[in-house]
């Protein structure tokens, strides 16, 4: 487990009972509770339309929930002071922003607002990712626009980095570069990172924690390694499985009825508990977890 997470006591972000619906729409977030601890790297997973972007925007105070409380750095998100705002980095889903600016203008523009600006990091990434400085952003490829957006978000060394599908337009090499940069950021500065993505292989490489979003709530959040070790798919009769789960003290995550009084249960075993050899159990992959929990 991440050492920063162990050391942390005060959450970077805290959402309690957050409900949010768009005008004339169904609620997207329904009494959602969530905590992000310093140095935590969280991959946010959910089906299309599950509300991941809405959650990230509510987390940053860009959308006001109808109920509940959102706090960042122990401050209400609606009235963050300048010091708190200078500790936030955000990469929105859309990369085609500030199209009339050149990358050089964009970086100078953002630099003018922040008290701290890591020029060496910016220069290094601009050269390594080969971004033309004086070409209008509207004329860059989508991948380059996304890279630039990432550089902009990392440049002031944020303590909280929120990334909404940051790698959707990057090729595998670009994704690898981005992920290594992210890991470096976390290891060097203990940055809290939360990012949504559909590319599960990236999460396997980077996300120490996974948060599965379903029904407007965080259905489950746990470190990836723990989930792969502890979650099993059990198949048997309802009575057998009920007895087994009780005996092991396992948590049922999802039950799927099968024919002839049988069922399939996605269960999380307590740490260090092993299944008896006669149990009909299968290990799960991240893709299985995504399909079952979102």
């Amino acid at each position: 487990m991440n050492q920063h997470l162990l050391a942390a006591t005060t959450p970077t972000a805290e959402l309690a009972g957050v409900s949010l619906a768009y005008t004339l729409g169904e609620p997207v977030l329904r009494g959602l509770d969530w905590r992000l601890l310093p140095g935590q790297v969280v991959g946010l997973l959910g089906r299309n339309g599950a509300g991941k972007s809405t959650l990230l925007q509510a987390l940053l105070g860009l959308l006001e929930p109808q109920a509940g409380v959102v706090r960042l750095f122990e401050q209400p998100v609606g009235s963050l002071d300048d010091a708190a705002r200078s500790r936030i980095g955000y990469v929105p889903q859309q990369s085609d922003l500030f199209e009339a600016f050149t990358p050089a203008q964009l970086l100078a523009y953002f630099k003018s607002f922040y008290p701290r600006w890591n020029e060496a990091k910016v220069e290094g990434l601009m050269s390594r990712w080969d971004i033309a400085r004086d070409k209008r952003i509207g004329k860059l490829s989508v991948g380059q626009q996304q890279r630039l957006s990432i550089i902009r978000a990392l440049a002031h060394d944020p303590a909280l980095l929120v990334l909404d599908e940051p790698v959707s337009s990057l090729d595998p090499a670009g994704r690898r570069d981005f992920l290594s940069e992210l890991v470096e950021q976390v290891l060097e500065r203990g940055t809290t990172v939360v990012f949504s993505t559909h590319i599960l292989s990236d999460l396997e490489r980077v996300a120490f924690n996974l948060a599965f979003m379903n029904g407007g709530r965080i259905a489950l959040q746990a470190p990836l390694d723990e989930l792969l070790d502890e979650v099993r798919v059990l198949t048997g009769t309802t009575a057998e499985l009920q007895a087994l789960l009780q005996r092991l003290g396992a948590q049922s995550l999802k039950r799927t009825p099968l024919a002839a009084g049988r069922e399939r249960v996605l269960a999380r075993l307590p740490a260090g508990v092993h299944l008896p050899p006669e149990a009909n159990a299968d290990a799960v992959t991240l893709e299985d977890l995504f399909m079952e929990l979102t």
Partner: protein, 497 residues
């Protein structure tokens, strides 16, 4: 024509109406149709009661012709939009259906014009010439419109014949050819008319693409222009760069001005609210930034002032007479006043367009929040409006001086209290629609016309009127200012809509 192609062609002809319905603009189309019907009704009444016989006949022909051309314009534009290079290459029968739709409509319209001409101008048992000539003229006009919708530069050709064919040498050179064509046509009018129409139909059928790279390029160009026109209808004047490479070259001076301003505000950056908002406005106003608009207003004024000086002192004729009597000054003042209310139309649209960037702006340290942001934004918008308004004033001073007419101030005066319309709840902003854009224009025009009547009858009341307009503006702004402190934080715009 197979049944499948026929069905597809009919669906294609329905497309523009269904787009209106899908965009939720069906009701707007009904409003426009009702207004057009009202206009036609008024014109018909005018023709019946007030216009002399000969002129009435001409107008009776001209108005339906304009209507026919407008309908063709709308339908053929839609067909060109449907002529997507991918569909041309991969959808079986797509090209055939497009050609069938275009040709079917064209033949129908040409036949209709020929029939009406035969009924109105022909005599029983007499010559078919009027109907045949009308058919050829209608066919040519429709074909030219279709071609010019595909190749926009052809519109310039409309103006070429006047200076070129007006030259005696050109007319002398062409007259033998014209005489030969006339002789052939008069010998076999039906045959030559049919051959001409067939050639036009072949030309029309060839206007659609083949799915190759030239088709892709042409389609992309047309789509770009269509999007610019749609944005323009919503008060969003795009930068010249949006028009392609030449637009970019022509727009470079304006872009350089904005770049220089951006460099200036970054260089002078400080945590003070004024500095923060000056940097934020570069993003919030985007292509409608005041530096660009002021430059535009200055350029237009220069052209108007040069024109005014020339017409007032150096020319003769009806137009000069109109200037001497001050009528043209009043007409110009209405046109120029439109320029002063441009921010009223463009700023809400710019806020809407920059709403995604605003998500990043509000997270920046130094950006005001809540009511403070609402107030800072409102001040910035008002400053922008007043700057454009006052930049346009020299032209009105010149108009008032040369026209000797107090009422040239009427519409620009009416634009001042309209500034209160700028202050609205931006958090509930919706995508601007054409009707909403029209409302401020119509309101300004209505108030301006009322002021115009007042100043025409009471020119000596100019100063009290100006004080009254100032007081009205201050009262309206004070009322809106109190309201905006109760609204939710303005940015990101439209998030509560």
């Amino acid at each position: 024509m197979s049944a499948a192609v026929h069905t597809q062609a009919v669906l294609m002809l329905r497309a523009p109406w269904q787009w209106l319905r899908n965009d939720g603009r069906g009701w707007a189309a009904l409003v426009y149709a009702a207004l057009a019907a009202l206009l036609v009704g008024v014109l018909l009444l005018a023709l019946m009661f007030w216009v002399s016989g000969g002129l009435a006949k001409i107008l009776l022909g001209v108005f339906p012709a304009i209507g026919l051309l407008a309908a063709w314009w709308l339908q053929f534009s839609a067909l060109l939009r449907l002529d997507h290079p991918h569909a041309a290459r991969f959808v079986v029968g797509h090209g055939r259906a497009l050609r069938a739709a275009a040709l079917g409509l064209w033949v129908g319209m040409v036949a209709f014009v020929a029939f009406v001409a035969a009924m109105a101008l022909g005599q029983p048992g007499g010559s078919q010439a009027p109907a045949l000539v009308a058919a050829m003229m209608a066919g040519a006009a429709l074909l030219f419109t279709a071609m010019a919708l595909r190749w926009r530069w052809l519109w310039v050709m409309l103006f070429l014949p006047f200076p070129v064919f007006d030259q005696p040498a050109v007319r002398a050179a062409l007259s033998p050819m014209v005489a030969t064509v006339q002789a052939h046509w008069q010998a076999h009018p039906v045959l030559w008319t049919l051959l001409t129409l067939l050639a036009m139909a072949a030309g029309l059928a060839n206007l659609f693409g083949k799915g190759d790279s030239a088709h892709s390029r042409g389609y992309a160009r047309r789509e770009n222009l269509r999007k610019i026109a749609s944005a323009g209808a919503l008060g969003q004047k795009p930068t010249l760069a949006a028009y392609g490479r030449w637009g970019e070259v022509l727009g470079a001076p304006f872009q350089s001005l904005v770049d220089a301003w951006l460099a200036h505000v970054i260089r002078r950056a400080s945590p003070q609210r004024g500095s923060v908002m000056a940097r934020a406005e570069v993003v919030l106003q985007g292509a409608q930034h005041w530096v660009r608009q002021v430059a535009g207003v200055v350029m237009v004024q220069l052209v108007v002032l040069i024109g005014l000086a020339w017409f007032s002192h150096g020319s003769s004729g009806d137009l000069a007479m109109a200037f001497e009597q001050g009528q043209a000054h009043v007409v110009l003042s209405i046109g120029l006043a439109g320029m002063t209310i441009a921010p009223l139309l463009s700023l809400p649209g710019a806020l809407w367009l920059s709403r995604r960037e605003q998500a990043l702006l509000v997270l920046l340290p130094g950006m005001p929040q809540g009511t403070a942001l609402n107030q800072a934004l409102a001040k910035q918008q008002l400053k922008h409006y007043l700057l454009i308004w006052s930049t346009a004033l020299p032209a009105f001073v010149a108009l008032a001086h040369w026209g000797q007419a107090a009422h040239v101030w009427a519409v620009v005066g009416a634009a001042l209290p309209m500034s209160a319309l700028l202050w609205r709840d931006a958090s509930r902003l919706r995508a601007p629609g054409s009707v909403l854009v029209l409302v401020p224009y119509l309101l300004t025009l209505a108030l301006g016309l009322a002021f115009m009547l007042f100043l025409r009858w009471h020119p000596a009341m100019l100063l009290p009127w100006a004080v009254g307009v100032g007081l009205l503006t201050a009262a309206l702004l004070a009322w809106r200012w109190r309201k905006l402190s109760h609204w939710p934080q303005a940015l990101p715009a439209g998030r509560l809509a």
